[in-house]
């Protein structure tokens, strides 16, 4: 389904090429396909309507030129307009000039606030070295406080809680005082999930906001949300004028059209993406990638760009020489792995390659934690061992396993895998860059 739009557009517009220009009828046919694709991706109906009329206007005037066929041309216009709407650059959350920076989390029930709260704490600690405290203001859902205490503990953030008998507004105020007293850099306020139409609870949220005067208010939105996303976003914007959005559950296969809807109706940027149940699966949001995801076009451009900027040309040549002479060591392997990882999580990287989505990606299952393990193992080896892995036997193996917090079996497996890789490389006659993903898969 993912590349369906490009294909359909190319089919719809296949006979246009000879004519050289797109007629209104061509465009209308194309717009129908685009409209359907966006609706299937859960972009709000009204947002879709506005969007297609913008695209139509632009496409009508356009000449069919150069390398692109008319289908591709329309895709390009769509992609550009989508990026304009979604926003190009990722934006950053703000910090207060005088600490603590207060971040207020809001959203519907089940949208993922508590998890996002802990993840954000971890993220801020890692990125900015901030000391973070969490305020437990969800006194309604059974065991919500317990949950925050647990996940807070896991990310090393202190949790300010007063059980469930006090008013959440009072708890928020008290937590802010404590954060000041404790000299925390950041206080993240977790609130209960509430419906945007629940007047009493929305009024309570406003009170919490007034009591804590947050530097940033974040709305947590489930990536699977449908047409209702605009209602939710509009109502929350009206009540608490949130500053940005966290998209949760983006690790699923939802196209995430809600991101576009929310941005379109409120103008607020999506700041973070929550991409898994593990607390480190949280990252800055990239609007450009999102627009590609919504339409299901592999993000070819940004893949190429990122790959280019990360793999230095000289480095690549040196590597090629080494490969040819069979001098590729575990150090090089580590370097390669790091390069790949700088470019983003492996699976999301692969997901950017067109035609590589869905099924294949699922079968691939490159586990990031596997890579973590490999990295740890190699880092626990001496330089000599990295050059000559055949040395790794007996007590060395045990030392490396201990040092990397893994097992002797894991060390063995890596060494075996690496020697297989070297063999494969020898067989490579073209002297091209090895397909790292395939190699790593091969050893599993």
């Amino acid at each position: 389904m993912f590349d369906a739009l490009s294909e359909k557009l190319q089919a719809t517009l296949s006979d246009v090429r000879a004519r050289g220009t797109l007629t209104e009828a061509d465009i209308n046919a194309a717009m129908r396909e685009i409209r359907l694709a966006l609706l299937e991706a859960d972009v709000n109906f009204r947002v879709v309507k506005r969007f297609t009329s913008t695209v139509k206007e632009r496409a009508l005037g356009e000449e069919v030129i150069g390398q692109l066929n008319p289908g591709q041309q329309v895709v390009k216009i769509v992609a550009e307009e989508l990026t304009t709407l979604m926003g190009g650059e990722s934006e950053r959350a703000e910090f207060a000039s005088r600490p603590p920076t207060v971040i207020l989390m809001a959203g519907l029930q089940g949208s993922g606030k508590t998890t996002a709260t802990a993840k954000l704490a971890r993220f801020l600690k890692a990125e900015h070295g901030s000391s973070v405290a969490l305020a437990a203001c969800d006194v309604y859902r059974p065991a919500a406080v317990d949950q925050l205490v647990k996940v807070g503990g896991q990310v090393g953030a202190e949790v300010y809680e007063q059980g469930t008998d006090r008013d959440p507004v009072d708890i928020a105020r008290w937590a802010l005082d404590r954060a000041k007293m404790d000299g925390k850099d950041v206080l993240i306020v977790d609130t209960s999930g509430r419906l945007h139409v629940d007047e009493a609870l929305m009024a309570e949220l406003v009170k919490i906001r007034d009591a804590t005067k947050p530097t940033t208010t974040l709305l947590v939105v489930d990536a699977m949300t449908g047409q209702d996303a605009v209602n939710v976003a509009e109502q929350f914007a009206q009540a608490v004028a949130f500053d940005g959005v966290v998209m949760s559950k983006l690790d699923g296969d939802a196209r995430g059209g809600a991101a576009l809807s929310v941005k379109a109706v409120t103008g607020k940027p999506i700041l973070f993406a929550s991409t898994g149940e593990k607390l480190d699966q949280f990252e800055r949001f990239h609007p450009d990638r999102m627009s590609q995801r919504i339409l299901g076009m592999g993000d070819v451009m940004s893949f190429i760009e990122r790959a280019e900027s990360q793999i230095d040309a000289d480095e690549a040549q040196a590597l090629e020489r080494k490969l040819r002479r069979n001098e590729f060591t575990l150090d090089d392997f580590l370097g390669q792995m790091k390069t790949m990882r700088r470019m983003g999580p492996l699976t999301s990287l692969l997901g950017m390659i067109p035609g590589f989505q869905d099924q294949q990606l699922k079968n691939l299952k490159v586990d990031e934690s596997d890579l973590d393990r490999l990295e740890a193992i190699i880092l626990s080896m001496t330089p000599e061992e990295r050059r000559r892995p055949e040395l790794i036997k007996g007590s060395r193996r045990l030392r490396i396993a201990r040092g990397s917090g893994t097992t002797v079996q894991a060390v063995n497996q890596l060494v075996k895998q690496f020697s297989q890789m070297q063999k494969m490389m020898k067989q490579m006659t073209k002297g091209k860059m090895p397909d790292m993903a395939a190699l790593m898969r091969g050893g599993r």
Binding site: P142, A143, Q147, V197, D222
Partner: protein
Amino acid sequence: MPREWTDLFVLPDGEAPPANAGGEEQEGGRGRGRFFRRLRENLSKTRQALGAEIQATLFETVDEATWERLEEALIMADVGASTTAKVVAQLEQEARDGGLEGGEALSARLTELLAGIARTESPVRIDLSPKPTVIMAVGVNGTGKTTTIGKLAWHLRRELGRTVILGAADTFRAAAVEQLQGWAQRAGCEIVTGREGADPGSVAFEAVRRGREQGADVVIIDTAGRLHTQDHLMDELTKIRRVIGKQLDAAPHETLLTVDATTGQNGLRQAKLFSRAVPVDGVVLTKLDGTAKGGIALAIAGELGIPVKLIGVGEALEDLRPFDADDFARALIAP
């Protein structure tokens, strides 16, 4: 279509629901006045969510724009493009052929068409004759499994006089066990738990064992929320199901998938992949007390034949209702 609890559940032969079914609350703590107020609030919420009248402006005039308005209404309700196209095309055809005159006839036929899709071939009623009947709740993170279980346990006890045991097989999410414990307390039923991180299958197994031992009528198993794209977690569900079957033949008898009414087109993928891992007997459509219409449930019923059995209309014990296809159809196109 069930409107009452006694319609939704098939009781063991010869058993009648208790005389107090649907009546006054017996437990201490909450007074009679408060209970009736809650009931009133709850009913009005349900009405808002489901009993709404059809959008008056929809069929004011019948022309090209009518079909577009209808299309918009259904799409905005998350029914999805393909089901919407089917329904609108059929209604338009019937209108052209001259069988339907005027707004009233059109809206009546439209509700009929929509309700027809919601009414699947699969049985809608939940059979409580196996003893114990084992019900398993599955679904994506945060869709409302645990809350639904709490409410369901309470209703089974209150409306049908069943004894219920809960099994806390979400051993993964932080404080999930404590959350279900909270509900067990509210619903007044027993709960079987394991440590956090324990094998969910063994907790489920133990809950069913305990249910048999104590002669409970119903055992409800909570499972951890999971994305349908996580293969290993889907396999885990299959395994939990198998383990339950080892303790009691043919169990679980009923697997319910919770679907959040705010979910868009991804809901169809959820239903498809969950039912590949465990046969899903019915959908619980939660959070219908918001502004979302839950139209994806129509697509799920239409394309996969999985019926909606229950709806969630709030966070309190009372806020669970048997699904009614006609009400649902009307609400889909309500303003």
